[in-house]
């Protein structure tokens, strides 16, 4: 067995156990309704986390995504309100814009050797500021095509809905898996995360890889912005504050190392679903005050990470014991 996949297995195991525990307390939580909700409600998070995973694998970080999602929503809403463009055209424009924005950040990071944390922090201010400059109001989207997309879902048995955006999220994760694990670009990303100097000597086209990684993250943030605007049917410049941190937490829970170079795309999906499960559990419980909600989320996060660490240590020890 390859020890590099252990964090992934640990993550999956803990997710399943957690789900089981929730189910014991609230049998309703296993309904297709909740499962459908889990996918739909976390679709935007899952998509943006795919981009974040790649960034983190490369040894970087992207703090701008939350703001970019908000910007995307506002951009779409304002354009649909003020111009007669078809939503699909607006989508394309938006994705071009956010991809270019990501690429520009990647360029700064590479060319000026500035830390990603700071460049994307400035990007975070910039994107939200740009959203404000478009409008400070929340803008509804009333396009008929939008309504079609929003109401596209497959009714699962048990009244659960498998929505378009939920499916889109799953597809994005699959695409992410292919890119990360099955392309030369993906291998380069892992290489960068393993050590920049070494990667360069091994022949990674460093500049290209960094720019592409952040461009990809920008693309995913844009896509996530589209999904978010489908989800809420509006654009709001104050939306998704702090989503970058949630996404990072999901990626880390999914077993990806923040230092880069190790992790799996699939783990990120589990990480996102875990965050969703956490949220659902707290709503189902319904007795926590505002402050206890925060404290409990923190405690559960910690418990999760400790469990993961413990499980890893245990299996590693086992394996080593067996080997010698």
């Amino acid at each position: 067995m390859n020890t590099r996949a252990l964090p992934l297995y640990a993550t999956i195991a803990i997710f399943l156990i957690a789900y089981l525990l929730c189910w014991l307390q609230f049998p309703n939580i296993l309904s297709t309704r909740v499962i459908g909700n889990l996918l739909t409600d976390n679709a935007y998070l899952g998509i943006v986390a795919v981009g974040m995973t790649l960034v983190i694998l490369s040894g970087g970080i992207d703090l701008s995504v939350g703001s970019v999602i908000a910007f995307s929503g506002v951009f779409i809403a304002v354009l649909l309100r003020d111009t007669g463009l078809h939503p699909m055209i607006v989508f394309v424009l938006l994705l071009l814009l956010t991809t270019a924005f990501g690429a520009a950040m990647g360029f700064l990071i590479h060319r000026l050797m500035m830390p990603a944390f700071i460049v994307t922090l400035a990007g975070m201010f910039l994107a939200r500021g740009a959203a404000y400059m478009l409008t400070i109001d929340s803008v509804p989207i009333n396009d008929p095509f939008y309504q079609t997309l929003q109401s596209a879902y497959w009714l699962m048995p048990g009244k659960g809905r498998l929505t378009l955006i939920g499916v889109l999220m799953l597809l994005t994760v699959m695409a992410g898996m292919v890119i990360a694990h099955r392309t030369r670009f993906g291998t380069s990303v892992y290489a960068m995360g393993g050590g920049e100097a070494t990667a360069r000597l091994m022949g990674v086209r460093q500049g290209r890889t960094i720019v592409l990684v952040y461009a990809f993250s920008g693309l995913m943030a844009g896509l996530s912005g589209i999904v978010f605007s489908l989800y809420t049917g509006s654009g709001y410049p104050l939306a998704t504050v702090g989503t970058e941190l949630t996404a990072i937490a999901a990626v880390v829970i999914g077993g990806t190392l923040l230092t880069g170079g190790a992790g799996y795309m699939f783990g990120t999906l589990i990480g996102v679903l875990t965050m969703g499960l956490l949220q659902t559990y707290i709503v189902f419980d319904g007795t926590l005050s505002s402050w206890w909600t925060k404290i409990v989320i923190g405690i559960l996060l910690l418990a999760f990470i400790l469990l993961q660490k413990g499980l890893l240590r245990l299996t590693r020890g086992r394996l080593q014991g067996a080997a010698s």
Binding site: N2, R4, T183, R184, G193, G194, R200, M202, G321
Partner: protein, 502 residues
């Protein structure tokens, strides 16, 4: 000529690393590139492959001028390289490392099955049968080194450059690498080869180029260049005495016991062993790669605390549960992987040398700056560390000089028991002799040393007693007359049955 380099110049802040160097490489030759630590060998190679941008000079491959601006371009030109320090990526699998950048693809995606087979096929040429789907980092330095060579050789259509490829290999593996290099020479490749082992130079190379202080001193056919002449070219002076076969006299019997380890062991790392070390004694640990020598040292220094056994000296039991505890007990440990475990790259030479001293004194009692300068200058002089000054970041030193600084850190702490894991790896002949002489001086003053080395000659030269480690067990002990290369070799190679008899 396959590859020609003319008046190559490269400067770093404060150093002129290459100063108008000429270098030629013919097809079908092995060309040894020699010189002291810091002479500029690695820099020359990095300029060749575009890892550094040169300041001046011209290069041509097959008569065509080339100007690689990145290592990728060099690879595309058919120049494969194994660099001195940076090897491969520990977080990728062996197969990914081997095939990086030229993975077999199907429908635009990496064809994993083919990747695996090709990688395995490559490695069998080197007699290595390992799981190529495991992370490279889970293998020993030696195996990683062979994988790096395999990768570079596969990449090199025309030129293969090896910067100290054999530094962490033992005799058997060195021979394996040489076979491959000879094979590539047959196929008409030009091979440039850096090493500090003169035996290997004579065993393998056709021509020699010597660098000194960033300038080319001589290029000569190996057959025409005697060993002593070569050393003189490298050092710019004659070596007073090359430490070869100068066995330690007056061994064992007279030393008074100082340390006593009994039943020290750890599951999965090394089986419990007993070891006595006398005052002023040099104990050598010999064994193949991965036999458990480093593990033995780590247990003794508390890097990984021992699970069983105890250590004691004349005054009673010793606490060796952590490096700090071991240091408090008067131990010192120069680890084998200087890059990750030894140097603190951005700190200056001075700071690196006094780091251990300062840590022992505690943060509240800073060593006065004048004292720091004195200590640093003293060791720079005594170990002949080649640098433009004590304030230079250690990361900018050449590999061998970094090793000397790490040694200096421990010597400055004046320990009573010093563990040296491959202390002379990557160190040039001159400094090599210097360090071995230093060990002699120190032991005369009462210091005890445990030395781990893959160079059996080196062990024979300095050790009073040699412990042979095999399969994570201490299997034999040789002392006095029996410390000879032959005996050690035999003990290492013995199977378990006759190992017990030895």
């Amino acid at each position: 000529m396959l590859l020609t380099v003319r008046t190559l110049t490269k400067a770093f802040p404060g150093t002129l690393a290459l100063d108008g160097v000429d270098f030629d490489l013919a097809a079908g030759e092995v060309h040894a590139l020699l010189g002291e630590n810091g002479a500029g060998k690695s820099t020359l190679i990095k300029c060749l492959t575009g890892a550094y941008l040169r300041d001046g000079g011209a290069m041509a491959l097959d008569g065509q001028p080339i100007d690689p601006r990145s290592t990728v371009e060099a690879q595309d030109l058919g120049i494969g390289t194994v660099y001195q320090e940076v090897n491969l990526l520990p977080n990728l699998t062996v197969a990914q490392n081997l095939m990086f950048g030229r993975e077999p693809r199907r429908w635009g995606l990496i064809h994993t099955a083919a990747l695996r087979t090709e990688a395995r096929a490559l490695l069998t040429q080197y007699g290595l049968d390992i799981d190529v789907d495991r992370d490279l980092g889970s293998y020993s330095v030696a195996i990683q080194q062979i994988i790096a060579i395999a990768r570079a050789a596969a990449l090199s259509g025309k030129v293969l450059i090896l910067d100290e490829p054999t530094a962490s290999l033992d005799a058997r593996e060195v021979e394996m690498v040489f076979d491959v290099v000879r094979g590539l020479r047959e196929r008409g490749l030009g091979i440039a080869f850096v090493t500090h082992f003169l035996d290997q130079v004579y065993a393998l190379s056709d021509r020699i180029t010597v660098l000194r202080n960033g300038r080319k001193v001589v290029t000569e056919r190996t057959a025409d260049l005697g060993r002593m002449a070569l050393i003189e070219h490298m050092l710019g002076r004659a070596l007073e005495s090359e430490v070869v076969g100068q066995s330690a006299e007056g061994a064992g019997a007279t030393t008074q016991p100082m340390l006593h380890f009994s039943g020290t062991g750890r599951a999965g790392a090394i089986e419990p062993f007993d070891l006595d070390v006398g005052r002023g004694e040099v104990v050598g640990l010999a064994g193949l790669l991965g036999s458990g020598r480093t593990e033995s040292a780590e247990l003794m220094f508390g890097v990984r605390p021992a699970q069983t056994g105890a250590a004691r000296d004349a005054d009673g039991p010793l606490d060796l549960s952590s490096p700090r505890a071991a240091i408090a007990a008067g131990f010192g440990f120069a680890p084998e992987d200087r890059k990750t475990d030894g140097i603190v790259a951005d700190l200056s030479i001075r700071e690196n040398i006094i780091l251990g001293l300062q840590a022992r004194q505690g943060w509240a009692k800073p060593i006065p700056r004048s004292e720091q300068n004195r200590i640093a200058d003293d060791y720079i002089r005594r170990l002949d560390i080649r640098t433009s000054g004590r304030e230079k970041p250690i990361g900018d030193l050449s590999g061998g000089n970094q090793q000397k600084v790490v040694l200096a850190r421990w010597l400055a702490m004046n320990p009573r028991f010093l563990i040296l894991d491959e202390p002379t790896r990557g160190i040039d002949v001159g400094a090599h002799a210097e360090i071995l002489r230093l060990i002699h001086d120190l032991t005369d003053a009462g210091l005890s040393v445990l030395i781990i080395s893959s160079e059996i000659d080196e062990l024979v030269a300095v050790a009073d007693r040699v412990i042979v480690v095999r399969d994570r067990r201490h299997v034999a002990e040789l002392s006095g007359e029996r410390v000879t290369a032959d005996q050690i070799m035999r003990a290492i190679a013995a199977t378990d049955a006759d190992g017990a008899a030895a």
